[in-house]
Amino acid sequence: MRFMLLFSRQGKLRLQKWYVPLGDQEKRRLGRELVQTILGRKAKMCSFLEWRDLKVVYKRYASLYFCCAIEEQDNELITLEVIHRYVELLDKYFGSVCELDIIFNFEKAYFILDEFLLGGEAQETSKKSVLKAIEQADQLTSTCYQQASPRITSPTCYEHA
């Protein structure tokens, strides 16, 4: 996998993970271009497309698009399930995840992704193992600064298609 982007229907990037070394300018340009390409597609279209010399696999969950750019010989369907597994992981961790969770806890979204994918390849596909790793890390710190704050309940939750 070359990179993964999460963005909203308005085209705002919510998370970006690059597995190839690129300059910031280049990343922004590629991101902008790809986001526009995907937002321009209709709902029932194929989840895969050729884009530059890459294959793009994307899926929309509620208000967020998840999009992966993979290489010529990579498997599209399994990439679609990489996306789904990541959504499941977020969902389980945050409990009915919504876009706001990812905005406000972007660092957690990155940590979870790093446990699941590394260097663009699946590292650990077991949901239990990934979440265990993340929760252990949380435990290491929850003793430090726990601050209770009210949690909003989000109207838009991810559906499980």
Binding site: K12, L13, Y19, P21, D24, R29, L39, G40, K42, K44, M45, C46, S47, F48, E50, D53, Q73, N75, E76, L77, I78, L80, E81, Y93, F94, D101, I103, F104, N105, F106, E107, K108, Y110, D114, L118, G119, G120, E121, A122, Q123, E124, T125, S126, K127, K128, A133, Q136, A137, D138, L140, T141, S142, C144, Y145, Q147, S149, P150, I152, S154, A161
Partner: protein, 993 residues
């Protein structure tokens, strides 16, 4: 109050994020961010030492600001400090910041490496994992140098925790990708292979990826992985679905691992060992069988995971290309998917079948699906799926179905999306040539191509049809007759005029016997198109005219009259003027014999690979695998040869064209179905070794004389390496004579600094592409803009085989523009080598809104002549747009605010292109504004918003585009706070639809 994170909240961060979200405008957001940056900076600089929590919070805020798209130029040191914190989350945030923000050449890398080193040595698995993740994420050379030796050790050590092994494996994979030379092979490689046997499936999953990457580079070192991978795969596919516990995904056993194992096996040929091979075949059969079983779940995840494994298995079967039964089964399975209700599966089936079509075992099986694929081309609603169908038709095409496939592609082309037209044109042209049994069909097909998609017919395509017609005398009469008929159409594409001009100029005599296509009729027909054509085409037509003078003495007077007219002799274009002068002179003073020699029929082109095929190969895509495709063609030719030995009737038909190639048929004239044919004047003696046209092909050849080339693009048509004709030949005498007799053509020419703006408008909605091209030079652009600044990379390509000397390229701003736009140019090198490319960077700053465009002045010396011309640079006001997202309510409020009459510009105009919604959307976004969904109550209308950034001011712009498909009209309304901006934007954008 916003949502707060689990585990450890950073309240300040949450407040900041929600502040940003509440910002009503981009300006407010920037203001809030600057305030925060100032705050953080002062905290970091302050005398008071920050505690770990605050440091973490501020670093996290900086990260958030960066991810919003703003530049961050401090805080790196604080992030590095966090690495040495003993609190896990502080360390974690430090690593995250570094992974996202530190690029490989940072001077902090030594400090970072130090932190990583400590964590790697800590024997604390969570800390080790963090540091390994960081190495994998950054993957820089410095990190590879520092750790490439340690990681293999960690990976294979007996006491390493499973989770650390997983990270280490993928970390090594990343380093091997970025700096393969730094990852040493060693005794660890053998032990890595044995990780395929590991108890822990997570470890196997990571290790398989690593082994695959390594095996691609040095297959011999990892050969033993084949048997282990097959054993592992076999255990997975035969396991009951619950055996693998959490590695079972929606009732599919370890789909990720299965896919990876199948991928690893594709690095190797089929195993030689019979038992092993049998076991693998069993696995593959089991996977194919499972596809036929009823699904264990209705969830799409179940079928996706199952089919992911299936497609990878099919990829392996195709890669091995050795088991006919499996190949045919794979083909049947894909055939079922072709009609599946899931678009994704149809797409993948079409894609996969493309590769199957190139296997000799399954080629026939693939062909049985032709009707389904044609149907897909007609009915699929998604252009990317239709593209796959085109690719597959191309791949499955052979002599038996070529006519059907070419016909279907041609009819699809009439409605095809613009994005894929050019590729289809190339494919049709290649197939038509490759499978032409009789060349009349070929000529018809290419002329049809020009009719249906003239704009997408590239030079390669029309050059090729001319090459073929010249080389095959059995088709010349037919070609002349057909182009003559095609040219009768009141509106025909310029490419047709080019082909028509060339062919009639060469072979018009073959149809001149018919009074309906007498020489005068032919000439008048061609000349009726003359005034509608571009300069290169006119130049070509002038050459056709002089050829007519040779072919048909009776039209000489008419043509001379045309050449003599002011519009030719005093044409502002130097090339046209020169041709007119020279041709007129040539026709006046040269004897019939000399004319016949100079204007002799073009000699056959040397047989070489079709330039179209070469172009198609350059375009990457699964439909164009040249290797596999060629291999099959080769086998097919083999079979054909066998058949021909048996003397079957099929060969006669199929081979007719081929035999015509080797022995030109003598009865050329009887081929054309015309009453009488006129012989072409025959030259008595050949005055030159190389025929004139061919020698002119290399532009350098006649640099001594004034004439450059008869056909402007002849360098692509003719053999490029033809020797230059030297002085002293009769020809040069004729011309030097003409120089003395008449006025020197170059003196007549106005100072040749014409400014080209042909491609200017193409860049209004895009930033990259070819700006200018002639026989000598190609100019390409890449540009990027950010707020009021822009940078353009200009690429000058020397297309010739000679050096350009004294090259200079400067930007010239009209006076009006000088106060509004700053352009800084770095001087370019003074020479461009033959075939080389030169890059020049232009930095642009917009001070104020502007209308005229800067001009790039180019000057260089080529073969003794000074070339000097200008190209309009596509720097327009809209390049300084930043898109603005807003809700309907905000939009209408601002719309009303901009209600003054001079703020609005409205334009109603006719559509110049097909009214395609997606294309329009792309153009509006390419123009630079945000495309706002759900603002306009009428969903067919387009609404956009953006801010033009100039140094002195910012101008908010709103636009609305209302298409009327019935009338094929648009109404474009622009409202901005400045009348000049509204007007300029309206002028720019309205040209695009």
């Amino acid at each position: 109050m916003p949502a707060v994170s689990k585990g450890d909240g950073m309240r300040g961060l949450a407040v900041f994020i929600s502040d940003i979200r509440n910002c009503k405008s981009k300006e407010a957001e920037i203001k809030r961010i600057n305030k925060e940056l100032a705050n953080i900076r002062s905290k970091f600089k302050g005398d008071k030492a920050l505690d770990g929590y605050s440091k973490k919070k501020y670093v996290c805020k900086l990260l958030f600001i960066f991810l919003l798209g703003h530049d961050i130029d401090f805080g790196h040191m604080e992030a590095v400090n966090l690495l040495s914190s003993n609190k896990y989350t502080e360390k974690q945030i430090g690593y995250l910041f570094i992974s996202v923000l530190v690029n490989s050449n940072s001077d902090l890398i030594r400090l970072i490496n130090n932190g990583i080193k400590n964590d790697l040595a800590s024997r604390n698995p969570t800390h080790m994992n963090l540091s390994l993740h960081c190495i994998a994420n950054v993957g820089s050379r410095e990190m590879a140098e520092a750790f490439a030796a340690d990681i293999p050790r960690i990976l294979v050590a007996g006491d390493t925790m499973d989770s650390v092994k997983q990270s280490a494996a993928l970390c090594l994979l990343r380093l091997n990708r970025t700096s393969p030379d730094l990852v040493p092979m060693g005794e660890w490689t053998a032990r890595v292979v044995h990780l395929l046997n590991d108890q822990h499936l997570g470890v196997v999953t990571s290790a398989t990826s690593l082994i695959t990457t390594l095996a691609q580079k040095s297959p011999d070192d990892f050969k033993t992985s084949v048997s282990l991978a097959i054993a592992r795969l076999s255990r997975i596919v035969t396991s009951a679905s619950i055996d693998l516990q959490d590695y079972t995904y929606y009732f599919v056993a370890a789909p990720w691992l299965s896919v990876k194992l199948l991928r690893l096996l594709q690095c190797y040929p089929p195993p030689e060992d019979g038992a092993l091979r049998g076991r693998l075949t069993e696995c593959l059969e089991t996977i194919l069988n499972k596809a036929q079983e009823p699904p264990k779940s209705k969830k799409v995840q179940h079928s996706n995971a199952k089919n992911a494994v299936l497609f990878e298995a099919i990829a392996l079967i195709i890669h091995h290309d050795s088991e006919p039964t499996l190949l045919v089964r794979a083909c049947n399975q894909l055939g079922q998917f072709l009609q599946h209700r899931e678009t994704n599966l149809r797409y993948l089936a079409l894609e996969s079948m493309c590769t199957l079509a190139s296997s000799e075992f399954s080629h026939e099986a693939v062909k049985t699906h032709i009707e389904t694929v044609i149907n897909a081309l007609k009915t699929e609603r998604d252009v990317s799926v239709r593209q796959r169908a085109v690719d597959l038709l191309y791949a499955m095409c052979d002599r038996s179905n070529a006519k059907q496939i070419v016909a279907e592609m041609l009819s699809y082309l009439e409605t095809a999306d613009y994005s894929i037209r050019e590729e289809i044109v190339l494919k049709v042209a290649v197939l038509a040539e490759k499978y032409a049994v009789d060349y009349t069909w070929y000529v018809d097909t290419i002329l049809n191509l020009i009719r249906v998609a003239g704009d997408q017919v590239s030079e390669e395509v029309w050059y090729r049809v001319i090459q073929i017609v010249i080389n095959r005398d059995d088709v010349q009469g037919y070609a002349a007759k057909t182009v003559f008929e095609a040219l009768q159409a009141p509106a025909c594409h310029e490419n047709l005029v080019k082909v028509g001009g060339y062919i009639l100029g060469e072979f018009g005599n073959l149809i001149a016997g018919d009074s309906r296509s007498s020489p005068l009729v032919q000439f008048k027909l061609l000349h009726s198109k003359f005034h509608l054509c571009s300069v290169p085409t006119r130049a070509l037509l002038l050459s056709a005219y002089i050829k007519f003078i040779n072919l048909f003495p009776e039209v000489k007077a008419t043509i001379q009259e045309v050449l003599r007219s002011d519009s030719q002799l005093r044409n502002a274009d130097v090339e046209l003027q020169q041709r007119a002068v020279e041709y007129l002179r040539l026709s006046t003073i040269a004897s019939t014999d000399i004319l016949a020699t100079v204007l002799e029929e073009m000699p056959p082109f040397p047989e070489r690979e079709s330039s179209i095929l070469a172009k198609l190969k350059r375009r990457k895509g699964p439909g164009n695998q040249p290797g596999a495709e060629e291999a099959r063609q080769e086998r097919e030719r083999e079979r054909e040869r066998e058949r021909s030995l048996n003397g079957s009737a099929e060969h006669r038909e199929g081979g007719a064209a081929a035999s015509a190639k080797s022995s030109p048929s003598v009865d050329v004239l009887s081929v054309a179905a015309l009453p009488t044919n006129r012989p072409r004047p025959v030259s008595s003696v050949s005055l030159m070794q190389t025929p004139f046209l061919a020698s002119c092909a290399a532009p350098s050849s006649l640099s001594a004389g004034p004439m450059t080339s008869l056909y402007p693009s002849a360098d692509l048509l003719g053999p490029t390496g033809s020797p230059p004709s030297t002085g002293g030949s009769l020809l040069v005498d004729v011309f030097s004579d003409s120089l003395q007799a008449g006025p020197a053509p170059l003196d007549l020419a106005p100072p040749n600094t014409a400014v080209s703006e042909d491609n200017f408008s193409r860049f209004i909605c895009k930033n990259n592409g070819v700006l200018f091209e002639n026989q000598l030079l190609q100019i390409g652009l890449k540009s990027e803009y950010r707020q009021n600044l822009g940078r353009i990379y200009v690429f000058f390509g020397n297309k010739t085989s000679n050096q350009f000397l004294d090259f200079s390229s400067t930007v010239n701003c009209p006076d009006l523009l000088k106060t509004k736009l700053n352009v800084h140019t770095k001087p370019a090198d003074p020479t461009i080598d033959a075939g080389a490319q030169l890059q020049q960077i232009l930095n642009i700053e917009c001070l104020e809104d502007f209308t005229p465009a800067p001009v790039l002045d180019i000057q260089f010396r080529y073969g003794g002549t000074l070339q000097n011309f200008g190209v309009k640079l596509p720097v327009m006001l809209n390049k300084f747009f930043q898109p603005t997202e807003m809700e309907a309510q905000d939009f209408f409020q601002r719309w009303k605010q901009l209600g003054a009459p001079q703020q609005e510009v409205q334009k109603i105009f006719k559509a110049k292109h097909p009214m395609d919604t997606e294309v329009t959307k792309a153009k509006i976004m390419g123009f630079g504004t945000a495309l706002l969904d759900g603002v306009d109550p009428n969903p067919t209308n387009f609404v956009g918003a953006g801010v033009i950034h100039t140094k002195n001011t910012q101008v908010g712009c709103l636009l609305r585009l209302e298409p009327n498909t019935q009338a094929q009209m648009y109404r474009l309304t622009l409202r901005t706070s400045r009348d000049t901006v509204s007007q300029r934007l309206s002028d720019l954008l309205s040209e695009q639809f």
